[in-house]
């Protein structure tokens, strides 16, 4: 076991996969000698060379499209989009091409592609370095969407993503890159895409979250346990598509109450799907309305610190939402 940060775990996953499979390569803006603007690929260019760690032109759709083409040719590309906010020019390639290729070729052509992108607010990134974009892509069958919240999961899930035969969008909570630390085994392991993780078992209510909000929710759950004696179950969804419905439904069967926390805009965000699932398939297990704690419906995260803080849920606002729901 080694203590490491989220970003160190991600780098280790890529390093191990590059060493394991000569078909794995990385491309994106500044991923080469610079090692990425967040240093996710630091040292990999020196270790594996410019043929495998490839600085791309500053053009996101082509980063994805080159990855699709290489994946069609049975390589294993890891494409980095520098900020999730910049993924939109590649939307057509992701949604119309990568996601539909296996279906539209009747299973002849597959796209084993990973697209990594740091997402989320709280780093003074303003409107265009803070966005949460997962809900655009969780609506698209054919894609997998993964968001880790611990170093252990970050490494294990990214390795699974590289080995998956489908296009995987791997969104990384950039505020947690160095803030989140945890134990990572030195032995080889993977974490399967799909299953959610029970981060904290509890009896009184269920809180569903992912990424930075899962990390904050664990802090908030300990706080309300300590201060209010509320025993909250925390489920880190980890893989948003395909969604682990069973773990969600089983948790609420036990607790009877559900809160979904996400830092994306509230309306049509991922929490809406969790709430709809519970209304549809878990109605008789509910003792309270399903609640959502999310960002307000404004276009993106503002820059100035008070507005940025106002925008994002944090351990205190999550704790308050837990107390409210526990008291229903």
């Amino acid at each position: 076991m080694t203590q490491m940060t989220l970003i160190d775990a991600l780098r280790l996953a890529m390093d191990e996969e590059l060493a394991r499979d000569p078909r794995v390569f990385i491309t994106g803006e500044d991923v080469g000698v610079r090692g990425g603007v967040f240093r996710a690929t630091q040292g990999l260019h020196e270790k594996y060379g410019g043929a495998r760690i490839v600085d791309s032109p500053l053009a996101e759709l082509s980063i994805v499209a080159i990855g699709i083409g290489a994946a069609l040719a049975d390589l294993r590309p890891i494409c980095e989009i520098q900020f999730a906010d910049f993924i939109h020019p590649a939307f057509n390639q992701i949604v119309n091409e990568a996601a539909k290729m296996y279906y539209r070729s009747n299973g002849q052509w597959r796209v084993p592609l990973v697209i990594r992108a740091p997402y989320g607010g709280g780093i003074s990134g303003g409107l265009y370095h803070s966005q949460s974009v997962e809900a655009f892509f969780t609506h698209v069958p054919g894609l997998k969407v993964v968001i880790p919240s611990t170093p252990y999961d970050a490494k294990g899930l990214l390795k699974s993503a590289v080995r998956d035969p489908n296009p995987v969008l791997f969104f990384e909570p950039k505020k947690g890159y160095r803030a989140i630390k945890g134990d990572v085994p030195s032995d080889e392991y993977t974490v399967p895409l799909g299953p959610a993780r029970v981060a904290r078992a509890g009896r009184d209510l269920s809180v569903f979250a992912y990424g930075m909000m899962a990390y904050y929710t664990e802090i908030a759950a300990e706080k309300v346990a300590r201060e209010d004696g509320i025993d909250a179950e925390v489920i880190d969804l980890r893989t948003l598509l395909p969604l682990d419905k069973e773990t969600i439904l089983n948790s609420v069967k036990k607790t009877g109450k559900a809160l979904v926390v996400y830092e994306d805009n509230r309306t049509m965000g991922f929490g809406a799907e969790v709430a709809a699932l519970l209304a549809d398939e878990g109605f008789e297990t509910l003792d309270a309305p399903v609640k959502r704690l999310a960002a307000p419906d404004v276009p993106s995260v503002p820059f100035s610190p008070p507005m940025q803080e106002y925008f994002m849920p944090n351990p205190d606002t999550i704790a308050a939402a837990i107390r409210d729901l526990a008291g229903y």
Binding site: P57, I66, R104
Partner: protein, 349 residues
Amino acid sequence: MTTNAVARASAQLSEQALLEMFWIMLLSRRLDERAWALHRQGKIAFHISGMGHEAAQVGAAFTLNRGIDYVHPYYRDLALMLALGITPTDFMMSLFAKKGEYSSGARQMPSHFGYKPLNVVSGSAPVATQVPQAAGLAFAIKYRQQTGLVDPQDATQPRVAFTSLGEGSTSQGEWHEGMNWAGVHKLPLVCLVQNNIYAISVPVASQMAVANVADRAAAYGVTGVVVDGNDVLAVYDVMTEAVERAYNGGGATLVEAKTYRPVPHSSDDDDRSYRTREEVEAWKEKGPINRFRRTLEAEGILTPEILEDYEIRARAEVDHAQANAEAAPYPEGEDALGDVYAPADEVQP
């Protein structure tokens, strides 16, 4: 051939190869004509035509290591696909949307070509999406060669990625980004632009301010060539150079084949609203099949007997393909649910 054509690659083509090229162009035309008729009879829902483009496509196909080199085509590439190896029955199964259709299981509209056994990548409808992907295929070819996974001279491996599109599609950013990668990374890519003057109704002057698509090649640091797209042997010549350049590490080529679409854009279009009948008729006379026929007749390669035999065979093959497709069952409704995710490999490398 004429004496000054000796240095041309096409001068090396055998009579048999020349006749095969002509046969595929003719078969494509007769199949295409039948598709229009079937649509007018209400038997099929949609057809998008490759008429007039047969020389550009067949001239190109014959320069590739067919079945091995990567091909990422577009929706007019019927003659290209026939030259690569799909059958008239394959195409008819697409038109009739029948169970087991070769490219997509009839999930896609007709002419959204793709067939893994021939290394032809499945295409979509948003134009130019295939160009940066083809650059990615070319990147993979170069990657495997550079990292020692394959021998660059191994002809059992793909050595070039070929993609094609219309001139209107070159207005897309995706085309630009793909060509830029091809130039920056000196990729083994051949991009064939079949310039037929109209993007549905919009003429080329409303797409770009330069005279030729190929003029843009200089901006990407790739070789650009303009060729008469109605002259199959001229296309074969420039494509041979382009493919050799890719095989030998010389980078990408942008080939612009100037041609014309003598029919509406698709079965849902009416071209009388944007061009005169005189213009269309004038082009038909210059069309690629008439032109190649005259060349082969003048050389004594295509005799009236062979031509008559080809016409009879083409009609028989198209009839047979139509009968096969009409007799075939539709997919089940539930077939809509398959192939969303590929299953994991059983053995990890």
